[in-house]
């Protein structure tokens, strides 16, 4: 660990700022992390933001890009930052904001007209515009994963996103399988790291941590179909937090 404190900023684009609050849930552990971190900017953590947002070592950016304003802010942050982390679903996959992208064209248009500020045609993840160095996924982010990330980065290790599905952690915990009970679940295609939070409470996984590259969408879609889940229902399920995978284009149909 370097003796110099690591300069860190938290930034919010369009989102609920819940991820920043999830980080706050670390409480004492976060206080301990402050020994090694210098928070330069955070609307939630600081009373007053330092006006001169200097060069940053790490920027945690939550929220999606939905307006010109968001984009300008993101470009500005990227320029000032060595290592940019997409914090949470909105930043990683467009998350909840992205639901709009999957709606019928005319409905999308009506939403845009009703918006208070001018919005872009689509809600986008950060990676659509700038280089993202690491993704901490989830709605909201898992605070322990955040801490693990900090622990690694402070020792000069760049963590890597492992191709592991939620099911892996779910079965490690000894949970029964929701799919076997006939409940649609996106566990097999979603990145692990949440310690199978939802399935452990008998709640289906809705894919907030993004789809893995190794996902077998076709097979899961067939399985959901066998559970009498309709085409539209499946479409909505798969696009809740994620863009529709190209293997499942047939679900788009009448939507």
């Amino acid at each position: 660990m370097s003796a110099k404190k690591v300069k860190v900023g938290f930034f919010s684009l369009t989102c609920c700022e819940g991820c920043e609050f999830a980080v706050l849930d670390l409480e004492e552990k976060l206080l301990k992390a402050f020994d090694y971190l210098e928070i330069v900017e955070s609307r939630v953590l600081m009373e007053k933001i330092k006006p001169e947002a200097l060069k940053l070592d790490i920027a945690f950016v939550e929220g999606s890009v939905i307006s010109k304003h968001d984009l300008n802010k993101l470009n500005y942050i990227r320029e000032k930052t060595g290592f940019l982390v997409a914090l949470g679903s909105c930043a990683a996959t467009a998350g909840i904001n992205g639901i709009r992208n999957a709606l019928p064209k005319e409905l999308q248009e009506r939403i845009r007209q009703k918006a208070i500020t001018p919005v872009k045609e689509k809600a986008s993840p950060l990676s659509a515009f700038v280089k993202v160095d690491y993704i901490l996924n989830g709605c909201s982010v898992n605070e322990l994963e955040f801490l693990d990330f900090l622990n690694k980065v402070l020792h000069g290790v760049i963590p890597r996103l492992e191709e592991v599905p939620v099911c892996f952690e779910c079965k490690l915990k000894g949970n029964s399988c929701l799919l076997l009970k006939g409940i649609p679940c996106l566990g097999p295609v979603t990145y692990a790291g949440c310690d199978a939070l939802c399935p452990s409470q008998n709640v289906q996984c809705i894919g907030c941590r993004g789809f893995t590259k190794d996902a077998n969408f076709k097979s899961l879609d067939n399985l959901l179909k066998e559970m009498d889940s309709g085409k539209k229902e499946r479409y909505n399920f798969f696009t809740y937090f994620n863009q529709l995978p190209k293997e499942l284009r047939h679900l788009r149909g009448e939507n």
């Binding site: 191709e163 079965k171 000894g174 566990g187 190794d214 077998n216």
Partner: protein, 336 residues
């Protein structure tokens, strides 16, 4: 010497065990309704059939600390971390005693002891419970694992009693006259008939000879690579190690090992992101062949014990038995 204990006395017996051991492990339901082995705390036991998850957590835990490293005077202290808790596990089914036997071969007998395993193993007393009926998807009778092995006590269900057969000195010590009375009755029958059956004749050679059989591709197309099969398997032991710094420390770190799964791509990934077994087909084949071919050839016992858990937990109903039987029937070298 054989004994009888009343079923209604079982909780009292378990409480008696709690005084003698650090942990008393029993089969019961967890909060997601899955049946697994857990510490006894007066909960209702699940004794109908085998549990969804095996007792391997108490021999090869999902995550275990192996070493702690402390930097001291520019060198390091390396301290192994052993789990020395004294345990008794009640209600392990005969097939699973064979799983422990299969793991003993690798972790105790073959290369020399893996202490992290052997210390746990030696500190654990195993009370097996004979199955009175066949379980869903089980095929232990095909693999000769329906009779328990290497256990300390064997319980048989008999009406309102358990008939108890003492196998070892360690087991004998638990026979307390408060709960047990001596019997000269004949041993109850331990015969069960499984619905599933696996053709095991020359299975090691045949499966390997059919490495490129179309069944692997066909079956793997619906495989979700969810790893449920390997995780529920009582013998899946493959692990990965990882080092972690104690948070906020520069000088203290720990090495963990955790169960990994051959169904994940990262299982064979080396530096430079090269994956040696990338296809789903190859990964599924690795699981089946490791269970029914490779291990037997290397260590002389099958790594599959016929409990059928991997079949039961598979969301897309891929069956190891079906795959193996298909190859035995139609593959290269099949008896035509």
């Amino acid at each position: 010497m054989n004994y009888i204990i009343k079923k209604e006395d079982l909780p009292k017996f378990l409480e008696f065990l709690q005084k003698k051991f650090d942990q008393v492990i029993v089969p019961a339901k967890n909060k997601t309704d899955a049946t697994c082995f857990q510490q006894y705390s007066g909960q209702e036991l699940f004794l109908e059939t085998r549990t969804d998850f095996s007792a391997k957590e108490f021999f090869r835990p999902a995550k275990e600390k192996m070493f702690s490293f402390k930097k001291k005077n520019s060198s390091f202290n390396v301290e192994p971390c052993f789990d020395t808790a004294k345990r008794v596990i009640f209600g392990i089914r005969p097939c699973e005693t064979h799983a422990l036997h299969a793991l003993d071969v690798l972790f105790i007998k073959f290369f020399g002891e893996d202490r992290f395993y052997s210390i746990r193993r030696k500190n654990t007393v195993v009370i097996a419970l004979q199955c009175s009926k066949a379980c869903e998807n089980g095929f232990c009778t095909s693999l000769g694992t329906s009779q328990a092995t290497g256990h300390d006590l064997l319980f048989f269900e008999r009406g309102s009693d358990f008939f108890v057969k003492v196998e070892t000195e360690k087991g004998k010590e638990l026979i307390d006259s408060k709960f047990f009375r001596h019997t000269s009755d004949a041993l109850p029958s331990a015969d069960i008939s499984c619905k599933n059956s696996l053709d095991t004749e020359d299975i090691e050679e045949n499966l390997y000879a059919n490495f490129n059989h179309p069944v692997w591709k066909e079956e793997s197309e619906r495989c979700l690579s969810c790893t449920s099969c390997t995780q529920s398997c009582p013998t899946c032991y493959c692990y990965t190690t990882k080092d972690e710094f104690v948070f906020g420390s520069d000088t203290e770190s720990e090495r963990f090992r955790f169960l990994d799964s051959c169904q994940l791509k990262r299982f064979t990934e080396v530096a430079g992101n090269h994956v040696f077994r990338p296809s789903r087909e190859g990964r599924l084949r690795q699981f089946v062949l490791h269970k029914l071919s490779y291990y037997r050839e290397q260590y002389g016992v099958h790594l599959c014990i016929g409990c059928g858990r991997c079949i039961t937990v598979c969301p897309v109903k891929i069956s190891l038995v079906e795959i193996a039987n298909k190859i035995q029937k139609h593959g290269l070298g099949a008896k035509k």
